[in-house]
Symmetry: C2
Subunit: 476 residues, 2 copies
Amino acid sequence: MNQDKLKEFEPIFYPRSIAVVGVSKDEQKWGTRFFRGLVNAGFKGKVYPVIPSDDKIEDFESYSNLKLIPGPVDHVIVSVPARFALQVLDDCTAKGVKVVDFFTAGFSETGEEQGCELEREMTQKAAKGGFRIIGPNCMGVYHPAYGKPWGGAYKQMGEPGTIGIISQSGGHGYWLVVNGFVRGIRFSKGVSFGNGCDLDSVDFFEYLAADPDTKIIGAYLEGMRDSRQLFEVIKELSNTKPVVVWKGGRTKGGAAAVASHTGSLAGSDTIWEAALKQAGAIMVHSHEEWVDTLLAFQDLTRFEGNRVSIISGLGGGGGGASVSATDAFIALGLDVPPFTDVTRTGLRNILPPVGSILRNPLDPGGIGGNLDIFKRMIELVITDPNIDLVILNDRLAALSESSRNWVNAISEILINFRKTQSKPIVIVSAPELAGAESREVEKTLSDAQIPVFPSLDRAAKALANIIRYWELVNIS
Amino acid sequence: MNQDKLKEFEPIFYPRSIAVVGVSKDEQKWGTRFFRGLVNAGFKGKVYPVIPSDDKIEDFESYSNLKLIPGPVDHVIVSVPARFALQVLDDCTAKGVKVVDFFTAGFSETGEEQGCELEREMTQKAAKGGFRIIGPNCMGVYHPAYGKPWGGAYKQMGEPGTIGIISQSGGHGYWLVVNGFVRGIRFSKGVSFGNGCDLDSVDFFEYLAADPDTKIIGAYLEGMRDSRQLFEVIKELSNTKPVVVWKGGRTKGGAAAVASHTGSLAGSDTIWEAALKQAGAIMVHSHEEWVDTLLAFQDLTRFEGNRVSIISGLGGGGGGASVSATDAFIALGLDVPPFTDVTRTGLRNILPPVGSILRNPLDPGGIGGNLDIFKRMIELVITDPNIDLVILNDRLAALSESSRNWVNAISEILINFRKTQSKPIVIVSAPELAGAESREVEKTLSDAQIPVFPSLDRAAKALANIIRYWELVNIS
């Protein structure tokens, strides 16, 4: 059955050709942006611009109607006013299209009967015409390995990876990818399905469950048509692929906004939260927690235990930071246990006695530029049998201002430890002074499976989330 | 009595001269850094380097002993090993010094009886010698208007302003100031007092209560000697000056780290939290919340009500952002009420019907570069009698990439609204793509009393904190 889904969704994620209906000479129009996005991103299939107006574009052969395109068209992106929707769908039927992706808004999310009725007619036309609909009111498909950006955002394409995205909101899906290329998160495939009049979250969960490129799923959901089905599919897949769900409309006001956004019924927050948790989903409550948790799942391979070691303030002044880090991690259920005597003795031999805290949390009291001591310190801590995970709590961005070489050397040592033993390493580095340079360092570290988080709270939340997941998987 | 405190603490915050004991030719040594920091920051009094070793520095006349300095010395900064502490204090007595600021560590925070005994002897010597001690194990005094940076950090001096800092941790105090100059937060005076063997948080609260330059107080505390006194002084002052307290050691592990850091007894978290809240303090639980809340107090003059309007996604794609923003603010107790009919009709006349959400939260559906519409939209929302505060939820950093002029124009319009009417304006702008340019925009906005927060959660927390404060002050 899973293999069927892969086959069925080929025109969605691997179309041989895409036609964009609603291109014009105005480069700011969404239809034009979708079209240019495909061309500039190097989309792997054919791309046809359909220009319903009298406009001409110079650099591409264009068509006034879908039906005039010479070759077969698998996939159509529609960006024309809602009143032309049914007519375009008739053309799609005539052309033998497999999937229609409706960017156009102005349907059930308006809350008016006319919009709802239009959506029902569209769904009927799709069933009769033998094609599926994504949307309306959505950004459609994202597939970096195949050259398909969100809309026209070919500059924000990101790198191919293991995270699949199911986002009812195009904006949230887009910003997840932007966060991704800034922080080294990589994506397999994504879909924003808006009102979801035909294909719904359940369909995409089923597809990503079967997709061999997808190892982790990040979902932003506002509502659903069939909750039982959704819980079933998540329950089945969450044992092998972590599912991180951010639910929009968890407050009464948020639920009202959901109705205006995608025409969805947000439902009771308590029921959603409980049912999805029971199905094995990791529930998150902000864009930041969503991004951070996905980054943690991507970079940290399966590990056991929740005993962290915290090292704060390589350049000195790590005392207060040690206290805060301990508070942040313990408050979220992680453990900060004492080192063994062997570790403590080892640390006493290499670190200055005054101004250091030779316990866990460890404040090395400004070992400064001494890379040899740094290396021996990390070795002692990471081999301690009381410790499952090592956290370096310092400001790489600020350090890089005065000494980029030093940050690079520190990174190299950490990357080497990451490669040669199994315990995860995590960095917490507040970005006050961050610029392009420090983002490069961050990406290099993430590429070597050392995630960097911008605050203690955010690191603690993400780690608590993935630790809970591995605990649940171990139990079941 | 308040005036007495101002007079008594003059040698701390307005010394006519500072001697730094422990300067050497090594520019990396802390004594040298303190000395160079004063000189480079343009300290307003005299500065004398005391070099106990055979080192020489070329550009300043130096002294081998404090007593050999020709003029009077109000304030001494000590950075020599702990074993020389008592000897230096004898010199201070002989010289008639008024305050000694001990950077040196290795006292009660070591947990060893020898260190505790040394501190007791130091306190006795101070009492007999007629001077006060700040520390040991601390960064001492920060006073930007007087040219006194934290340690050697004259490049991170920040601007004079209204926020006073009392931080038991030098690191946390320093990073608060760094956040300040990045985000437009300005400071009156600050002190890091470490182990607090003589002068303690209570003394500095009393001083800042009287200090006319200080309107808001941000405190990071790990422990205290006399809790009753502390609660009394905060209770008295919190009615006129907001007191934002971040307490380190709120977990058991954090409390153990506190003992190793400043030798303090962290005490029961529940008791601290309850007692300080009852005294009128605003309790925060992370560095981010501390910084954000202080920024909010600085930029937002007293206002009433908790009814916010949220505008998301000026460049389009604001649907999901509207939902998330509403969830974030309502979850923290703020209200997102409907607009009046007048506002709704006005918005319907200027915004596109399709792709917009013409309610609160407001999604203007990509009004793009139309500044006239932007201005009329803000005017409608800000004059709505249902609304106390306007939140613009968009990514200025990302926008600035493609169109800096546009961001500047938007900023100018907002700054003008801020000047010409009384309702606060707040911006939420995630910093994924932020660089030096977007930090400039952020600082300009904050200087015009429009604070910028990096996430919805952080904005919501800070606003909830200051709204709670004004509610309490209104009741009492």
